[in-house]
Symmetry: C2
C-alpha cells in the first residue's frame, strides 16, 4: 500500500451513531458547510418530532436548504410490525428517489438507523442501493444502534457518546442549543 | 429530587470532545439551528487552518453568521512555552470580551481545549469566568482532550469517538463533506 492517499472512487457514506448528542447536529453542520460551498444538499428526516426539529427547520428555510420530514406519523413504537415495515419501505423509496436523482452532493438520512436496527428494512438492501448511487452523492446516516454491516460498509463512522447530559441534573432541553 | 426537570438557572456550557469527527461540525450545526431561531451566535476559532475552515467560513459569510479566526499564526507546536502562553491569553481575552458583552445567545470556542490541555491557560480561571458570564449566553467548547475539571463543570458533554475514518483506507478528505 502506498503512503500517498489515493483519490476516492466515489463519494463517502458517513455514519453518526451512539447514544450522545450531536449526531443530527453534526449532519446539519456538514450540510450547512456544503451549502456554503454552493453544493446541493438535503436532509430527509425519518423520525419527525414536533419539537426537536423546530430550530433546524427554521434555519433550513431561512437558508433555503431542503429538510424534508418523512411521514409525520412514523413511530417506532407501533405494535404492528407489518405496518412498520410497509411505512419504512415507503419512506426509503422517497430517499432512494432523492439519492438516485443525481441532483445532490450531500443527502442526509436523519435517524435512518432505526428502521434498520428494528429490522423493518434489510440493511443489505440499503447497502446494495448505496453502492449503485451517483458518484457525486455523499450520504450521511444518523441515529443510534447503527447495524454492524452498515458500519463495515461506511467510509467514516463516528460514535457520539454521552459523557454528561443536563437531563441528569434535571435541566430541561434548551431551545436554540439543543433543538 | 423531583421527577420534574427544573428550569435552568442559566444557559449551558457544552463540550464536544474526543478523537472523532463532528466536534466542530456539531457546534456549527447548533449555531446554524440557533441562527434559524433568530438568535445571535458566533464562533471563535483557536486553531486556524488554511483548508479546514474553508467551507464553514463560506457558509457563515453566506448566512451572515460571525466566525472569527483568532491569530492565524497560532500553533500548538511552538517550542517556546512562554510565547504560547502569552498568545493563548491574548486570544482568550478576545473570547472573554465577546462572551462578557452579553450580545450573544451562543458563543462557540472552537478547538479551545488545546490551550487548556497544554497548560497555557489555567482551566480554573476559564471556569471562574464562565460562572460569571451573562445568563443568556450558552458557550460551546470543542476539541480533543478536554480537561476533567472542564468536563466536571460543563452541563452537556459528548465524546465524538472515531470508529472508522477514510484516512485508514487511504482516502483523502473530501471538500464539502469533511471541511
Amino acid at each position: 500500500m502506498s503512503d500517498e492517499p489515493k483519490a476516492p472512487k466515489h463519494s463517502l457514506v458517513v455514519v453518526n451513531t451512539g447514544n450522545g448528542k450531536g449526531k443530527t447536529t453534526a449532519a446539519l453542520g456538514v450540510l450547512f458547510r456544503a451549502w456554503g460551498r454552493g453544493l446541493n444538499v438535503c436532509m430527509l428526516q425519518f423520525i419527525k418530532s414536533t419539537t426537536s426539529n423546530y430550530g433546524e427547520n427554521k434555519a433550513a428555510r431561512k437558508a433555503g436548504i431542503e429538510i424534508i420530514g418523512l411521514g409525520g406519523g412514523f413511530t417506532w413504537l407501533s405494535t404492528d410490525i407489518e405496518k412498520d415495515k410497509a411505512l419504512a419501505r415507503e419512506l426509503w423509496d422517497q430517499c432512494k428517489e432523492k439519492i438516485a436523482s443525481g441532483d445532490y452532493d450531500v443527502v442526509a438520512l436523519d435517524e435512518f438507523t432505526y428502521p434498520l436496527a428494528y429490522g423493518w428494512l434489510p440493511t443489505e438492501e440499503v447497502i446494495e442501493f448505496l453502492k449503485q448511487r451517483p458518484k457525486r452523492t455523499h450520504v450521511i446516516i444518523t441515529g443510534r444502534d447503527a447495524p454492524q454491516e452498515l458500519i463495515d460498509y461506511a467510509d467514516l463512522v463516528t460514535e457520539m457518546k454521552e459523557i454528561k447530559h443536563p437531563f441528569q441534573q434535571g435541566i430541561k432541553a434548551q431551545p436554540g442549543i439543543e433543538f
